[in-house]
Symmetry: C2
Subunit: 456 residues, 2 copies
């Protein structure tokens, strides 16, 4: 057993003080805020705050504000190598995609392991304790499977384990370059040829450690998965597995879908049994009112990726409307133009402010729920994302006296509207301390790995 005394902590939907948290292995076994402790003991001694009941034992004090673990619900790890390098020309999402494909062409299981490990370490240092890796870079450059057809997936699982982050590997079906068009160029690395071959490969994927890794599935998009093949997902939806899909990120995708199928992408998914309470619609940017209704009725997750959606010029999605219809917001860093859960949280609200010219669409508490418990639930980790008895022991501590956070009140508004990834001082995942504030070492590792990718 070990114990932590949290100076301030987000517990039961509010910031509480001097919270004693006890752990057994990877689980939280008790959570006792100072007020409860005083009530329990029946005495309120002036020195109580400095004398929790375990102070004499192995109690570690964490200064600052401790949050539950943050979930990154949409990641393409290899995009981290593109940061800063895709900003040189005018263009669109589609020209950016060409640059992204150039990196995808360079990786093999060994280099992808190294890049993903460094990227996941950046996530851990930013307070993410789980990642949903939307994985479609499966095969050799000419499309031939590796000897282990899951060599790339296994590299990602190993990278997550070695970086100390939990992972849900969302193995992604990709069959088509567009509506009715065959995969071409680097897309052959993504393409399994058929939904059946894909399913066979996925069934052979073995998480390296059970508790730290889950296997989920994804359809890349209605562009890349023909309508017939979408049916393959109905059994995963029925089983309650994590099922993800890129949805309506760009207006062109909607137009092409309507031209090919006569319905919107959301309608197409609904008609093929793809929508359910463990389905995540990633981006969900350009939706009709009926699309919003369909996602809401399915209680589907909407995985917004605001910093990427800014970067790619996707537009501002209707986050609040989705939530009010019954959908549940989660947050991902997607292309990793930025890895900063705090920026993602506030960006949801800021972007709605820009679109509406009014403030206060989302409370800080709602955005924290999206980034913690709801995000974890969408990845299949229903027992993570809260500082509560029986939950996985994830603790993310931020400095309350940095240039960003100082003077901001030290509550949930500080976390959502002031903090940055650089403020993370301590991260525990499943009871293990995986980060203790050395951001510089994380940067040096990324610098080394990405430098080698571009010069190889």
């Amino acid at each position: 057993m070990s114990a932590y005394l949290l100076e301030h902590a987000w517990v039961d939907g509010r910031v509480q003080h001097d919270v004693l948290v006890e752990l057994e292995g990877s689980r939280i076994t008790s959570v006792t805020p100072d007020g409860d402790l005083m009530r329990l003991s029946g005495v309120a001694t002036p020195d109580k705050r400095m004398n929790p009941r375990s102070a004499g034992d192995s109690c570690t004090r964490l200064r600052g504000l401790t949050l539950p673990g943050l979930a990154n619900t949409h990641s393409h790890a290899f995009h981290r190598a593109l940061r800063g390098r895709t900003q040189t020309d005018r263009g669109t999402f589609w020209t950016w995609r060409e640059q992204m494909y150039a990196v995808a062409g360079r990786l093999d299981p060994e280099t992808y392991y190294a890049l993903a490990k460094a990227t996941y370490a950046e996530m851990v240092a930013a307070g993410y304790t789980s990642v949903g890796e939307f994985h479609y870079l499966h095969h050799q450059p000419d499309g031939t499977p590796y000897d282990d057809p899951n060599a790339m997936g296994h590299a990602l699982l190993a990278a997550a384990r070695d970086a100390g982050i939990r992972i849900t590997l969302l193995d992604t079906l990709y069959l088509s370059s567009g509506f009715g068009a065959a995969s071409e160029g680097v897309q052959r690395r993504f393409d399994d040829g058929s939904a059946e071959t894909w399913q066979e490969r996925v069934s052979a994927l073995s998480p390296l450690t059970g508790a730290d890794a889950l296997i989920g599935v994804a359809a890349h998009s209605v562009r890349a998965v023909p309508a017939d093949a979408l049916k393959a997902f109905a059994r995963y939806v029925a089983d309650g597995a994590a099922v993800h899909v890129h949805l309506s990120e760009q207006v062109k995708e909607n137009a092409d879908c309507v031209a090919a199928h006569g319905v919107t992408p959301t309608r197409l998914l609904a008609d093929h049994g793809f929508l359910g309470p463990m389905t995540s619609a990633v981006h969900a940017t350009h939706l009709t009112d009926e699309d919003v209704r369909l996602l809401g009725e399915a209680r589907a997750f909407a995985s917004f990726c605001p910093t990427t959606e800014r970067d790619l010029g996707d537009g501002i999605g209707r986050a609040r409307a989705l939530q009010e219809a019954g959908s549940v917001l989660t947050l991902g860093s997607d292309s990793h133009a930025i890895i900063d859960a705090f920026e993602e949280m506030r960006a949801v609200e800021m972007d709605e402010r820009l679109a509406s010219q009014a403030r206060g669409h989302w409370s800080a508490a709602e955005l924290l729920a999206a980034a913690t418990a709801d995000g974890h639930r969408s990845l299949g980790f229903a027992d993570a994302g809260a500082i509560a008895v029986g939950q996985r022991a994830d603790l993310v501590t931020i400095d309350l006296a940095s240039p960003r956070t100082a003077g901001t009140g030290g509550d949930e508004h500080t976390a959502v509207f002031a903090a940055g990834a650089a403020d993370v001082t301590h991260v525990m995942v499943d009871g293990k301390v995986v980060f203790e504030g050395d951001h510089a070492v994380v940067g040096r590792s990324l610098d080394d790995v990405i430098g080698r990718i571009w010069t190889s």
Copy 2:
């Protein structure tokens, strides 16, 4: 004389390497990139990069990417105390303003000095070397002038000097709560009663040190300065002084102006001789095509404050259209919801991407020009914002191997699209080293000062 060897530096509109910069006092006297050095000496020895000609003398090597000084063209220093504290309710710009007035009511020259000094120190640590302080908190709470009618202005000048940042104090005329309405409540602290009284007070303002501080002027807005009083600014415009004004930040201001005067705020300013090449239109968010044309023809600066404009739900201004019409972009952190020049630069581009669903409206070089030379020029410091002979010796160095910047290429795209304030490692202003990377001490000072304001 002193000398710096810059590993990478933004010189002549591109990133150059191993740049030797020599200083005499506050001025740059020579700038020699490695390539030039080799050409001059006629030998390219393998160890050249480690042996600049001054290496044996007092040459300090600055690792990373060194930028010219960054200019913060729009600041209300006291708003820093609001960060994180105005996010609790739904509302609008106008309800936010009520919260802002609550802080304005609490300050006196002593507390304002302390708050501004800590806030300016945060700016310095973020790489800002000049600030344009849009200053309207002039008088005692009941509107009576202090014994020194410029007590508050002098507090700001002293705070800037002691924090090590150059300042242009933009003393602001405020006469009205709205079109035809008298100042009320805390607004009495802003109100000089007449343009004549204001001019008299401004003429008594004395910069504490000449080279580090300038006095400019501002009209708060067309809401707060009746049309007649706007005429008082024509002489400053004619003199080429820095003249600033809040312009069309909110749709309501435009509607009220049209109702009161039959013209847009921009047209009203143009008709009163307010627009010129040293006029800065702050925000300039909601403009008609004619407004854009008028600002462009005047070659006026457009001071965008993207992180504040997000926060207050102002909307997305037409930055590119203004630039193409002849206006010149500068950047300010305004309400200090965030103090991060890098985030302001990229936000201009990101917001245009969100509005247009296309990428590449602004190059990184253009955004750097806005944040450096153009910004300084708008504050009256035409001799700052470039690493060039004869310029003020401002050098801002960022780490290229942080979690944010690692692997991003180390050029201007890194600075604009990847870096954050936490990456600033070294700042020189006018030849003096004012920051050497200790961000923690900056945070502790803010924490102390703002804590005292809210508990007093």
